[in-house]
Structures are given as C-alpha cells and as structure tokens.
C-alpha cells in the first residue's frame, strides 16, 4: 500500500509545486516601457517556469484611479509601479506591504542614495529600476548664433544668455531665452535646487517640518521669480506656446534657448528636435559652490493582494525587475538611468554627452520627501504663479506657501500609524 501511496503523493506534491502561480503587474501606458516589460516578462518566465506574469497597463490619467479602486476590491495588481512621491500616501492607506529585510540591505548597498526614498517610517516598500535627475537642455545653434560657445555654469551666465536670446517683436515674443515652467519642473528647481544653493534647507531631516520659509529660502524664491520680472529671461512656457508641456514643446520647436527638464524628457527631445542641442549640469549660484539637484524615480511595490505563493513569486519578479541585467536593458530600451550604483559608475554613461550630466548629478541629488505629492506640487506652483501672474509680493507668497505646506505635512503625520 505504502509502496503505491508514497510515489503517488510525491508525484502529486511535485505537480502541485509545479502548477503555475499567476501574478499581475500594473504600470501606466507608455509605449517603450510597455514593450520593455513585455520582453522582460518573457525572460522572467523562461527562467521561472512556475510563474506566469500578467501585464496590465492603463492610460496615465486613469492610472491612480484604477489602483485606488481595484486594490480595495481585491482585483488589482500584485506588483505595482508608482511614483516615489505617492509612496507615503499609498502606504498610509494600506495599498502596499513592506518588503522583506534582505531587500532593504540590497537597497542600502547597491542602489543610488535617492532610492532611500523607497522607505516610509523605516520600512522598505519598493525598489526602482530607473532614476531621474534634472539638467539644463540648451539649443546649441541658438546659443552659438548669439555668441555663446558653452552652456552657462552659473545663474548669472544663465541670465545673461537667456536675456540675450529673448526676442520680442511688437507685442509678441518670437523666441525665449528660458521658458518658465512652474507646473513643469521649475517647482522642483525652486524647492530642492535653488533653496539649497542659496544656503537654505527645504525640509527637516525627518521631512515633517517645512524649513524653506526662512531668509535663505526667500532669497532663492525671489531670485527665481526675478528671472522673469527683472531679468527678461523669458515668459511662462504656457503663455508662449500651446500644448500640455508647452515649455518642452517650444524648445523642441527651436523657439527656446534653454529649459530645465528631467532625464525622462531625453527621448521626446531626441525624437523631436531638428537642431543641435546639448545637456549641461544645472547652473550654480556661483562657480565652485556645492552642487545640488532633484532626483526622483518610479518604483515597483508589493500590494496586499500578493499573499502566499503569489507573494513569493511577486518578490522574485520585483527582484528581477530591479536587477542589474534589467536595468542595463531598460537603459537601452527606454533610455532611463539605472538605479544601481555599479551601473551609474560606468564611464560609458558618465562620459555620454546626453546622459553624462544627469548621471553626474545623481551623486548629489536629493528626493523631496513628499507625503501628498499633488498637494505639495500645487503649493509650490501656486507660490510662483501668485508672483508671476498676480504680482503678489514674493515674501508674502512664500510665507503663504510655507504655511500651507506645513498644514499638509501636519495633516499627513498627525494620524500616522
């Protein structure tokens, strides 16, 4: 009897262990990313015969809404892609589960420092494949036509170049030196870059207190708003040019000398721009001053729907998505900077004329500790717009911003569990 039963049980057990686990991965719809993940899933499934990965994507506008409703309904992803700024909100509302401790060690030892923003309340909730920083994109043709051979190193040089490139005919602008974009990347520029360059600190180390409301912060903010008000570097991108990302579209159309944008814009600019362009590290307050940048990333998190065998499989898939091999592929296919230290150090990358300035900036970039990304973004965008659109006194506008953002931070942390 036993002689029959034991092999049968063994067989049964093997079959059970082999029966495929299906996990679901969600990201928003972006062609090169969707294609890359499809290819990566093929490779992952070939290496892990017991696991099937279902890949589902949604238009960017609908993405957060889908996640917000699907996970409570038990119908959503096991592994989910999200912007790091949404992380605390998602964790607090129970949309993510912490990753095992051994992955936290991997994060500490092997990932770029900004990836530490994958932690909330000391626990790790995800890992990134790629990271991004800011840099100055410039139209080499326009700059050299105006007699500038190199991009600006300091803000004074930046202002001089921008003012010279701004062209007004009658009551309309035909060309801008710099396209101001408070709702593009400029709100990051002010908060993380200018405030630090002018000797301030945007937030306390625990991220719970707004510090930029001080004199240094105000100097930085006034300096930025003066670009348009006093120095004629240009006007608001969306008053100059139509479209959703007016500042970038205007640059691609060859009508703007310089913009500040993230490494995620490289692909769009490369495909669109019909002129010589270059990328430079962000200008500094003065030559030789401490450099700063804003770094950000999308990460892969584990939702509470991943339990039991699905959890094991999901962690495996998450590790695969953030492996060196994947990150190298991602750089080639999607064009985003790898998040792992060893890959970032690759001289081929640091010396690259386009990627180089972004990669170098990664060493000193900081990720804003958002807890309410949309709310905090509006605070900074509105602070700038009050001055540029309503002529409000910068000091008053800046004070309002610091107070409003502190209220958002307090609201988040008061019932943090």
């Amino acid at each position: 009897m036993l002689r029959v039963l034991v092999p049968l049980l063994v067989l049964f057990g093997l079959a059970w262990a082999q029966s495929p686990v299906t996990i679901t991965y969600w990201q928003y719809d972006f062609r090169s990313k969707v294609e890359a993940v499809n290819e990566l899933i093929k490779r992952f499934e070939a290496a892990n015969p017991g696991i099937r990965v279902r890949h589902e994507t949604f238009p960017y506008d609908a993405y957060q809404q889908k996640v917000a409703t699907a996970i409570p309904a038990g119908q959503g992803p096991d592994v989910v892609n999200l912007f790091y700024g949404w992380l605390p909100t998602w964790v607090k509302a129970g949309y993510l589960q912490p990753l095992p401790e051994d992955l936290a060690k991997v994060l500490d030892n092997e990932f770029a420092a900004i990836a530490q923003a994958s932690r909330v309340g000391g626990r790790l909730y995800g890992l990134p494949t790629a990271v991004r920083t800011l840099a100055l994109f410039y139209n080499r043709d326009l700059l050299s036509a105006a007699g500038f051979r190199t991009p600006p190193k300091t803000w004074d040089e930046f202002i001089a170049i921008a003012a010279k490139l701004t062209v007004r005919e009658g009551n309309r602008y035909t060309q801008l030196g710099y396209a101001m974009a408070p709702d593009g990347q400029d709100h990051h520029l002010v908060r993380e870059v200018l405030v630090r360059q002018f000797g301030g600190r945007p937030y306390s180390d625990d991220g719970r207190r707004v510090l930029y409301g001080d004199a240094a912060g105000l100097r930085a903010f006034t300096f930025y708003t003066d670009w348009m008000r006093k120095h004629n570097v240009g006007i608001l991108g969306n008053q100059f040019f139509p479209g959703n990302n007016a500042y970038r579209d205007a640059f691609i159309a060859g009508r703007v000398g310089m913009i500040i944008d993230g490494s995620f814009a490289i692909g769009t600019i490369r495909n669109g721009a019909r002129f010589n362009w270059g990328v430079a590290e962000l200008p500094n307050e003065r030559a030789g001053a401490r450099k700063v940048n804003y770094g950000s990333f999308w990460l892969h998190g584990l939702t509470p729907l991943a339990t039991g065998a699905k959890r094991e499989a999901s962690i495996k898939f998450l590790q695969f998505l953030t492996s060196s091999e994947t990150q190298r592929y991602w750089l080639e296919k999607v064009g985003e900077l790898p998040a792992r230290k060893d890959l970032i150090k690759d001289p081929q990358l640091t010396l690259d004329r386009v990627y180089g300035p972004f990669v170098i900036s990664l060493a000193y970039a900081k990720a804003t500790p958002f807890v309410d990304e949309l709310g905090q973004r509006k605070v900074m965008t509105d602070a700038i717009n009050r001055v540029l659109l309503e002529n409000k006194d910068p000091a008053e506008s800046w004070r309002m911003a610091a107070a409003e953002e502190q209220r958002l931070l307090d609201a988040f942390w008061k019932d943090w569990r």
Binding site: D61, Q64, Q65, A68, T69, I71, P72, T89, W90, K92, A93, G94, Y95, N171, R172, Y173, P182, D183, G184, I235, L236, N238, Q239, F240, F241, P242, G243, N244, N245, P304, D372, L374, G375, K378, T381, D382, N385, R386, L389, E390, D415
Partner: protein
Amino acid sequence: MRPASPTRPRRVSLATREALWALAFLAIPLAFFLFIRIWPAFQALWLSLFNWHADPGQRVFVGSLHYQEMLQDPRLGQALRNTVLYTLLGVPTQLVLGLLVALLLNAITRWRDVFRAIYFAPYVTPAAAVAWVFSWMLSPNFGIVNEILGWLGLPAQPFLTSPTQALATVTLVVVWQNLGFQVVLFLAGLQNIPRDYYEAARIDGASSWQLFRHITLPLLNPVMVFSAVIGTIGFLQLFTQVVNLNFNDQGGPLGSTMTLALYIYQQAFLRLNLGYAAAITVLLFVLILVITLLQLRLLSRRVEY
C-alpha cells in the same frame, strides 16, 4: 343555513393586470436605479464618516470630522465658489445663445438641417479633443484668437493662463460645446408651437416682439425648464473640459478653474482621501438637489392657450 359564500374565483380586472405587468417591467429599471444609483449614494454617505483604508477592517470611524474639515478648507471654498460661478455664467449664456440660434434657424427653410448638423457637431466631439484645439487657438502668444484681436487693434489676452480670465474662458468653451444640443431642443420646441396662434395674433395686429413675448416664450417654457435644469446639473458637475484645458495644473492657474467634481476626484483618487472626498460628494449632492428643486418650482409655469 349558512349564507351562500361568494366562492367564485377572484378575477383580476384587466386594468389591474395591466398595472401589474407594467410594475413587473418597471421593476428592472427600478432595481437598476436602486442598486446602481441610490445604493452607492448611501454608501458615499457612510464612507464619509470614515478615514479611508484599502482594507475595510482598518477604516477608522471619525464621525463628522470630514464635514468639519470642509469648513476649514480654503481650496474647497474656492472650488465651490467657482462651481457656482460657472453655473451662473454658463447656464444663462447657453440658454440665450441657444434660443437665438434656434430662432434664426427656424426662420430659414433652406439648409436648416445642414446648419443644425453644424451646430450639433461640437456636442458629439470628445471634450478632450475640443479642449486641445481650444488651448491652441487661445494660446496667448501664437494663438489665432489673439491674432484676430490684433487685427482689430485690441490687446492680446492671456485667457486660460490668467487667474482672472480662465474661468470665463472655460465657460465659453463649454457653452460652445453645449450649444448644438440646446439649439436642437429649442428647435423642437419651436416646431411644436401651432402656426394658428401666430396667424391669429397677427390678424389682431400683434408685432413681432409681441408674438415672441406672448406666444413663443411662454410656449417654450417646458423646454426652457428642461434646459435650465439639465444645463445647471451639467455645470455643477463640470470636470472633463477643466482637466483638459490646463492639463499640467488641473483646476489652475491658482485654482481659478477648479470645480467641485475635479476637487473630489483629486482628493479621492490622487490623494486617497476617499472619506473626505465622499463628504464633498454629499455636499455636491445636496447642492444639486436644492438648486434643481428651486428651479423646478420657480421656472415651471403651466401655459395653455
């Protein structure tokens, strides 16, 4: 002797039977209405008493907290004011322009259908596409609208990029889009007015204005009420055009185009404050209910000739 009891089988009258059948058929839409419309409304009310969590077991009961928060939320106040302003600006403009165009179309017989189709086209065009084209036309520096203003010797306007002009601009885009629907409604209403009334009045020496004032307008009242109610609800729920006309700063600049519906959406799905968002939907529900009832009461008049 027992009295002969009426043991004849009970006959259901034809009328009752028809009513029963009607009820049976009505039960399906009724069930739909109850479960898809009414039940979620009550759920929203219930939800508004909790702090949101993906796991229902971890939702914390907070009672009226979210309603108290609403009182201290300046951005909600702004959204509420904007929403009322949109409605006050948009509904009358839509009604007057719609009536005007319908009267003109009613006066012509040639090409009427073609014109009607042209006016109706924007109504069936996706709002996102409309918003996109308008944001190009209204672009302050390169847009065609400022180009035309320039020809007329007028100064260029910032339109959607200005906190003082953005709301009115969005309203005009929405009115432009709704106009066709409005025109079709009024045209149908106009064509329902018997010619005899006009002829009789004309014989009595009534002027065109008198004809309009005492025949057309009163007899269009039902259409007017319908349009006002539907238009008001539409403006109170305004969302898509606002999102698409300023995609990177939705509801901006400086919150000047923010609506209640968009604010609810952002609180619920982008900031995961579903409890707070639910509380605001209750406010929006009450607002729509009160305004609609008021309108029905104030505007409806029975007109018989």
